[in-house]
Structure formats: structure tokens, C-alpha cells
Symmetry: C2
Subunit: 248 residues, 2 copies
């Protein structure tokens, strides 16, 4: 169990608790990271009290932790008062992405997809039993879905969610690629996605397009399906993978 209260009598069930475990974790660090996760994009800048409240920390503690985070650029303290996330995160986030060594091949593919379909193009990677959006280019059109790089979504549902596990199925029972869904995970969105393989034969990720459902008629589908397959193959080739496996 996590024990939030030091001396306190008992109970409580709130406070921290969200993400990680508490097993063998360095408490101060744990709390600092909880603070970082307390920032949601909607809020411009959070006052100390609010940060402390969200993280379930004593004011003094939050203040000290924020000070340390600030000195490394993980949060910024605004002149007017209040804190927000800091620029070091931008640097590290981009470093993480580059460590995947996908950017050079994936971004051009997404650019082609977006240019030719005029819809949003996205690339997911599997992360345990979830998937994470790692690259994304928004549709140039006004009406589009709104998704963000970094977001986590479930596996098994949605075009990408199924595409990432499509090749896990026994050889005979694999779904037809690309996966096409209509309003499956998000009611008003259709999506087309196909897996991408690396040199080791593993699934490196999933490329695809998402389209507002009302715009996804037969013509749009006929346009998008081959586009997605073409780029899935292109990325797979670029990574040294064997396109045969997705061309079944």
C-alpha cells in the first residue's frame, strides 16, 4: 500500500496514487514527478496552492520541489506568479523521439499522406498494452480530429489499436490490411491504419490517416486505403523490414 499520511490516524484514499507504484521509489523524486504530471495543457499557469492540491502535497513540500524543478528548467515560474511546464521538457521529449530513430522515415511518409489525402496523418508505437502517438500531422482542413503527440490510447480498439496487434494473430486469421474503422473509438471519426515492420521483423509502429466520418465516403476510402498501404510499405522498406508480411 501507499502510505500517504506520516503520522495521521488513518484513512484517506485520495492524494497521489495516480500513476506509478510506490515500491522502492525515492519519495522526493516520486513526488516531483507527480507534480509534473499535475500540469494539464488547459491551464496556462498554476498557482502554488493549486499544484500542491493536485499533487496531494503540503504547500511547503510543493514549493521546495518546484524550486528544484525550476532550477533545471522542468517548470517555469512566471513573473506574474504561478508555474507551468518548462522548456527542458521540450528538449528531452524530442530526444526521446529521436532515440526511436524513426523520424527520418516516418515524417516524410506522414507528409505525403497528408498532402495527398488532405487529412490528418498519425504514427503510433506500441507501449506495453497501450499505444502512444509519436508523430502526427494535422489535416489542413478546418474540421478534423484533435489528437496530440505523446498521448496514450488503448490497444485493440481503433484502427491503429488493431493494426499494431494485427500480426500477432495466427497466420490464417489475420485481419485484412489496412485496418479501416468507422466511429469505432471516436464516434465521429474514421481511420485507416497499417503496421510497419523493422529489420528484426517486429512491429515498429502503425501509420495511418484519420478522417471525420461525414467526409469518409466511398471515394475517400478508395483514395486513402492504397495511400496508407503504400506508406506502410515504404517505411517498412526504409527500416529494413520485409514488406511481404503486411501485403498478405
Amino acid at each position: 500500500m501507499r502510505k500517504p499520511r506520516p503520522v495521521q490516524p488513518d484513512q484517506s484514499l485520495d492524494s497521489a496514487s495516480d500513476s506509478g507504484g510506490s515500491e522502492g521509489n525515492v519519495r522526493a523524486v516520486d513526488r516531483a514527478l507527480v507534480i509534473l504530471n499535475a500540469f494539464r495543457e488547459e491551464d496556462g499557469a498554476l498557482p502554488l496552492v493549486e499544484v500542491a492540491r493536485r499533487a496531494g502535497l503540503h504547500l511547503t513540500t510543493a514549493l521546495r520541489l518546484l524550486g528544484t524543478l525550476e532550477s533545471h528548467g522542468f517548470v517555469q515560474r512566471l513573473a506574474v506568479g504561478g508555474y507551468r511546464l518548462g522548456p527542458t521538457l521540450l528538449l528531452l521529449g524530442d530526444r526521446f523521439r529521436r532515440s526511436l530513430r524513426l523520424e527520418d522515415h516516418v515524417m516524410p511518409a506522414l507528409e505525403r499522406l497528408r498532402a495527398e489525402s488532405r487529412e490528418s496523418a498519425t504514427f503510433f508505437v506500441r507501449e506495453g498494452d497501450h499505444r502512444r502517438c509519436v508523430f502526427r500531422l494535422d489535416s489542413p482542413q478546418l474540421v478534423r480530429d484533435h489528437a496530440h503527440v505523446g498521448e496514450v490510447q488503448p490497444l485493440g480498439i481503433g484502427a491503429h489499436g488493431r493494426s499494431l496487434i494485427a500480426l500477432d494473430a495466427p497466420a490464417g486469421q489475420r485481419p485484412r490490411l489496412p485496418i479501416v474503422t468507422r466511429g469505432e473509438r471516436l464516434r465521429e471519426i474514421a481511420a485507416i491504419a497499417a503496421p510497419v515492420l523493422d529489420a528484426a521483423g517486429g512491429v515498429a509502429g502503425s501509420v495511418g490517416i484519420s478522417v471525420p466520418l461525414y467526409r469518409f465516403d466511398a471515394a475517400a476510402e478508395a483514395l486513402c486505403v492504397p495511400l496508407v498501404m503504400r506508406e506502410a510499405v515504404a517505411i517498412t522498406r526504409a527500416l529494413g523490414g520485409d514488406p511481404a508480411a503486411i501485403l498478405n
Copy 2:
């Protein structure tokens, strides 16, 4: 060598060494953040020993800290062994960027710049006495400069470095906009940049194009200069700023 001295005879003047200060910082957190900064993109995965060495930490300490970082997704432990940066950084980095509330206006502008110039387009924001690359689109051409989102560069040098402080000068002595440099910060790169203003009249950032010097002839300059000015004005307008100040 950095040797903090556990038992500490006296004084201090301390260790800390690299980044932040050590004044009033929570040590465990401080160290954890130093660990994150120890990851450079070049290295795929670092073994524990290497992380500990770079961060100047005892092996045991690094192990514990990495464990905590991992449980929040700030680092990943690869099956084969070794650590690398984790996906949570992607999420937070993007959140930081969105908190600037520039994306909607800046990215389309960069896309137009790149499309019309076929060169790399970049957006910097000022950060104290430095500047940070916040948005960037790479040139579609093979030969181009290599810069990354998140990187910090000096103020006062380079086209963006000067553009960001151009309006700080007294009204009569302001440099002509856009700023055009040839091989100033990077020997083989030319750049064109202009500041962008927000509704408060402050400098929100700097937009521009960078071009390999050998390609930057009179024709290229004649093409790029008006493009950059056009987009600087467009972003300024979108942010509610007054374009007059950059058009003088």
C-alpha cells in the same frame, strides 16, 4: 572530479557542477534530473554504470533513482539492458509547447515558408539571455542544416539571435528587418529572421528560414526576405499584435 563528500568537513562551495544551482534544492530530485540530462541523443541506450558515471552518482543511487524515473515513464528500461529516455517526456514536452499557445499560428506559417522557399523554417522564443528553438520544419532538400526542436542557442548572434532583440534598441537605431546573416553563427549557413509581436506588444518569438550558404545567392535572398516578413506579419496579426512595429 566532482566529489560531494558525504561526511563533509565543512564549507561547501560545493559540487553540483553542471546545470542548476544547488541552493535550496531537494537533493534526490536534483540528482534525478541530472540523470535525465545525462542522456544525449547519440546514445541509444546507456547501461547503469554509464548513467551513474555521467551523473556523477554512486551506482546504488543511480539504480534507485532510475527505478523511480522508470515507474513514471521518464526513462525506459530496455529488455536487453540499459536505459533510455521515456515516453512521458514526449507528452510533457508537447504540453509545454502547447502552453505557449503559438502552435496554431506558427506551424502553418512555417509550412508556408518551407513550401515556398524549399528551405528549413524555424521559430525561436527568447528564454532569458538565450533563445530556444520551439518549432522547426526541415528543408525537403538533401543538403540542409541540422537543428532540433528544444535546442538552446545564444542571443545576439545569428539571425534569430539578433531578431529577438532587434526591437530592444532605441527607436532610431534599430536594425533593418528582417535580419539577414551569412555564416554568422554557423559558418556555412545563411539565415533570414524577423521578430513576431504579441497583443501586449512584447516579442513573442522569431520566425525565419535557414539556407546552406552556397545556395543563398541574390535570387534566393530576393525570394526569402519578403516571405519571412510576410509570415512575421501574419503571425503577429494572428496573435493580436501590431505589425507596424516590425514594418518600419
